[in-house]
Symmetry: C2
Subunit: 351 residues, 2 copies
């Protein structure tokens, strides 16, 4: 049985120091999770902020300007602009999407995996023209002595997938875009398979098909190819809307354990749950088993009501020495939570 | 001055033998163009066909089924299905796109570059699950002793970009998908630059930004990365809607000559024209010059009226020994045409 941490949410927006005095933190969720070399648990959170705004007739859009290197605030008058502001997350100006909050990535450290000390300033802050609207949904895979970070770089160019690397989880060197817009949910396997790095990703082909998990291969982590559609949302209602890889695959004796998210589209709301599947260690395209029902669905109040209702979403899980797997997950695009399950039981669920 | 071949269109649908007796050819356009090793001109046409249909109340969709290896015809009753059939090119069933015609790729050979002998059967016919709806818009680059073909593989998975290679322009070996859906207009440079293969491509990020030319790099033609947005449709009205690379870049003493298409969105019609730009030989991201106005726009009746009105679109051009450049171009998504221009003059236009 999956056990939610009793102090959930373990990280809330109020725990985060904003990146600037004129900003307020609105979300701290969807965290990458990995073991640091010293044994501590490291999380990298998606932190969303928005400009403090005391004028209800104004909408303020934060945006990184790569030409000046400055963060800018664009102000729109709600009544006179003729723009539709009914969605609190975004609106369109002359067809272009504008986001009302901006995300950066922020490190956090823990000795026990439950209580975290959060860094006081951003670890990865928007810094290129592909990140003008923010950096979202980090995943970290440890490959030999390096930590490989992928994240969604969001701008008027769409949602690109970027890669960066670090030796110490403190500074990250950007290595460019690895998957073209629009794409999300990059999960790199923690070791090479048959001589190649392997990743899951999820291209978005608006209107052609439902968002599916694809696989890709690379000789060097920078250049990717060998693309194949891997898993498509057809299996059952809870993941009939879309699917995407969640935590980077975990190696077990039985195979690669993949925790993924599935979306049920019912009525006006999308409901995000987590599932698990098991893949052949030598051929990750070979699915050995898949869960019959979600391993975690929104049930607690902090999962069903928030910035976006009915969302549990993982970007990282850690296999502990005691046979348990800690799944760190974002709830309602607002807070970070933890759930624990025995590896054996999760494997049974995934078969 | 650009000179249209007086016998334009040089190839028409009626010149093509359909791939099956129950199909009729509706288009022969958007051809790759290259010089064969024996000096002949080789074209690879996008040939569209549709099932012969004598029942006006039926819509028939041709589709390759990769599980059976068979081409199937799906029949829809227009009156009872509740489906919107107002667009003759496609319609949606439960949200999924269905195309009323299917494209394959067909070779054609010429001694004089004007009169072509067209092969009697397809050269590349849909054969994978990514090609169920067809293979479109081929481009061929000669790289050392190989011909490298790229084309759009269209299926319910979206528009993927596939690569294949050939030594003789007769058989082509598929090498997989190199750019994720949705993406079109792949143009591979005919030689490595700074140790890498280089390509233009055009991801489609519906709703985020206008379709732009991007650049990519590869060590081996199979794995690609180093993605950057290269050129965006902002310059002038004729290419304000979208831009995409046309013919694979031509090496000249002054730089890489790139013939591209631009789309003007005016009223309900899109108007496709051709432009030219010049790039630094050693750094193709450095634009040395760009045309002030299109080098070719729809003017002749065979360019302004057809399956899709107001379209000239190139997938290939050949630099001749006499200092002229032959631009092969599709007109109205229906026929293939030829226009010739002095290299010197085209370079002047591109500066």
């Amino acid at each position: 049985m999956i056990l939610r941490e009793k102090t959930n949410p373990i990280i809330k927006p109020a725990d985060i120091v904003p990146s600037r005095e004129d900003f307020v933190v609105t979300g701290a969720f969807n965290a990458a999770a990995t073991l640091a070399k010293d044994g501590r648990t490291y999380l990298m959170l998606r932190v969303t902020e928005k400009p403090i705004n005391n004028d209800p007739n104004q909408a303020i859009v934060p945006m990184f300007n790569h030409e000046t290197g400055e963060l800018e605030k664009k102000i729109f008058e709600k009544e006179s602009s003729g723009i539709d502001f009914s969605d609190p997350r975004s609106f369109r100006v002359d067809g272009k999407l504008h986001l009302t909050s901006m995300a950066h990535l922020r490190g956090a450290w823990s000795d026990d995996g439950v209580h975290f000390e959060i860094e006081k300033s951003p670890t990865v802050f928007p810094g290129t023209k592909y990140e003008a609207y923010g950096c979202e949904d980090p995943r970290i895979s440890r490959l030999e002595d390096k930590y490989i970070l992928t994240y969604s770089a969001v701008s008027e160019n769409g949602v690109c997938s970027s890669i960066a690397e670090s030796k110490d989880l403190k500074t990250f060197d950007r290595k460019g875009i690895i998957f073209l817009p629009n794409n999300r949910n990059i999960n790199i396997f923690p070791e090479k398979i048959n001589g190649h790095y392997v990743a899951f990703h999820r291209p978005i082909t608006s209107g052609w098909c439902k968002n599916s998990m694809w696989i890709a291969y690379s000789p060097d982590l920078i250049h990717w190819g060998g693309y194949k559609r891997f898993f498509t949302p057809e299996m059952s209602a809870w993941c009939s809307g879309k699917v995407g890889a969640g935590a980077p695959p975990i190696k077990t004796d039985k195979g690669w354990l993949v925790i993924y998210h599935g979306v049920e589209e019912s009525g006006k709301n999308e409901k995000y749950s987590l599932g698990a599947m098991l893949l052949d260690l030598k051929d990750p395209e070979n699915i050995l088993g898949n869960c019959q029902k979600p391993i975690l669905s929104p049930e607690e109040a902090y999962e069903t009501e928030g910035f976006v209702d009915d969302v549990v979403f993982t970007c990282g899980a850690i296999k502990r020495d005691n046979g348990k797997i800690d799944i760190y997950y974002g709830a309602t695009d607002e807070t970070l939570c933890l759930a624990q399950i025995e590896e054996k039981e999760l494997l049974n669920n995934a078969l």
